[in-house]
């Protein structure tokens, strides 16, 4: 796996797992790969993967059954959406606004593009 320079690796592994859940590749109460399996898969120190899992557990996205492993939690989708929205607002939107400023795109124009995007999808 190639990592972006930006984010801490443990968060990037967290994202990877969230993506699997949000695309329903991994569903509720399904066992996710063990720390070791994941470490081998992404070629990362098992301690880092452990940190990813602890983070996801804190966020209520996965839960731990002692001695068995980690599972996708019931409320995972809601928590992931919450996290992603926060990231979108805090990180991606400012980037977008900055580009808009540089290119001098007024805010109203965005609405037009959004409408076009939605119409396009309906076709």
């Amino acid at each position: 796996m190639e990592f972006k320079k930006k984010q801490a690796i443990y968060l990037q592994i967290g994202d990877l797992i969230c993506d699997k859940i949000i695309t329903r590749e991994w569903v509720q109460d399904e066992k996710i790969p063990s720390v070791r399996e994941m470490a081998v898969q992404v070629e990362v120190n098992p301690n880092t993967v452990m940190r990813s899992y602890a983070y996801l557990q804190d966020q209520g996205i996965i839960y731990n059954k002692r001695g068995i492993g980690y599972f996708v939690s019931e409320e995972s989708l809601g928590h992931i959406r919450g996290l992603k929205k926060k990231k979108f607002i805090q990180q991606e939107l400012p980037q977008l606004f900055k580009t808009m400023e540089i290119l001098q795109v007024p805010f109203d124009e965005l609405a037009e593009y959004y409408e076009a995007f939605q119409n396009n999808r309906e076709l």
């Binding site: 320079k5 930006k6 690796i9 470490a39 081998v40 070629e43 990362v44 120190n45 301690n47 880092t48």
Partner: protein, 283 residues
């Protein structure tokens, strides 16, 4: 697992280490970083009992390596950067040398060889340098030794083998074993190394986990050249990578880049020492 205190070592008149302290705990993939000639290989040789300290003490798993007790040697494996292998088939080598290691895993050894595209019938003297390296790595990991020392293990490995090596190492790292890997190829092992050891001017300048490091240092990317007093900065595409001393934890922290960390530490060893003493103290 390894406790070194006030160790001194010199080659002839050339003083290499003085007052060197180092603690290695179980369950780490230690990355040993240092400039050319800093003494990385010498340190690995001291830990494995190939050479002896002039002063100070070196305890490895409760043994003095210099005594070379069999109980010690069966738990330590050292892969040097330069080596000679006998003109034997891999199979024959295994039959002769595996019995020295009571926990040797035949099945795992066969599995690693297969991953590296080697077969047991190959003669060691006919292998390329990279293939020999892959054989040695396979053997070392299969010994299940508690302490595995590797000097520049990714040197000579082709591109797919480096990836295989990372997978194998990630799978072999357990909480009761430790690996010490000396390397200049930080990029090859960036996501595996933790904790980090930096050897400079005859001393260990830094010995901390990445988590501890992230508690006292922060790396950011910014567009403008930093005006304030920062620990270190480096020009990068579209701006600067800046390393600052910072205690607060951030949600969107950047990964600490090992090359930048190394350059920063070597560039200002005194300040680095102070920050870590103040920030987390000694482990």
């Amino acid at each position: 697992m390894v406790e070194i205190e006030k160790l001194a070592f010199r080659y002839g008149r050339k003083q290499l280490f003085s007052q060197l302290d180092l603690v290695i705990q179980a369950g780490g993939i230690y990355g040993l970083l240092g400039k050319n000639g800093a003494g990385k290989t010498t340190l690995l040789k001291l830990i494995s009992g190939l050479i002896f300290p002039k002063e100070g003490s070196c305890q490895v798993m409760g043994f003095n390596p210099a005594e070379r007790a069999p109980e010690f040697l069966q738990e330590v494996c050292f892969i040097p950067e330069e080596f000679d292998l006998p003109a034997l088939s891999i199979q024959k080598y295994e039959a002769l040398y595996a019995p020295f290691y009571p926990h040797f895993q035949k099945q795992e050894f066969a599995g690693y060889l297969e991953e590296f595209e080697l077969t047991p019938d190959l003669n060691l003297s006919k292998l390329s340098y990279g293939q020999k390296k892959k054989f040695l790595i396979s053997f070392a990991l299969a010994t299940l030794c508690r302490l595995v020392l590797m000097d520049e293990p990714t040197n000579g490995l082709d591109i797919p083998s480096k990836s295989k090596f990372r997978q194998i190492l990630a799978g072999a790292a357990t909480s009761d074993r430790s690996f010490v890997i000396s390397t200049h190829q930080v990029r090859d092992l960036e996501q595996l190394i933790d904790p980090v050891l930096i050897l400079d001017e005859g001393k260990i300048l830094l010995q901390h986990s990445l988590y501890d490091i992230s508690k006292v240092l922060n790396m950011r990317q910014q567009e403008e050249r930093p005006q304030d007093e920062v620990l270190y900065y480096e020009k990068a595409m579209g701006g600067y990578f800046v390393l600052r001393e910072e205690q607060k934890e951030q949600e969107h922290e950047l990964e600490i880049d090992l090359e930048i960390l190394f350059n920063a530490a070597i560039g200002n060893p005194q300040k680095f020492g102070e920050i870590f003493k103040r920030g987390i103290g000694h482990e």
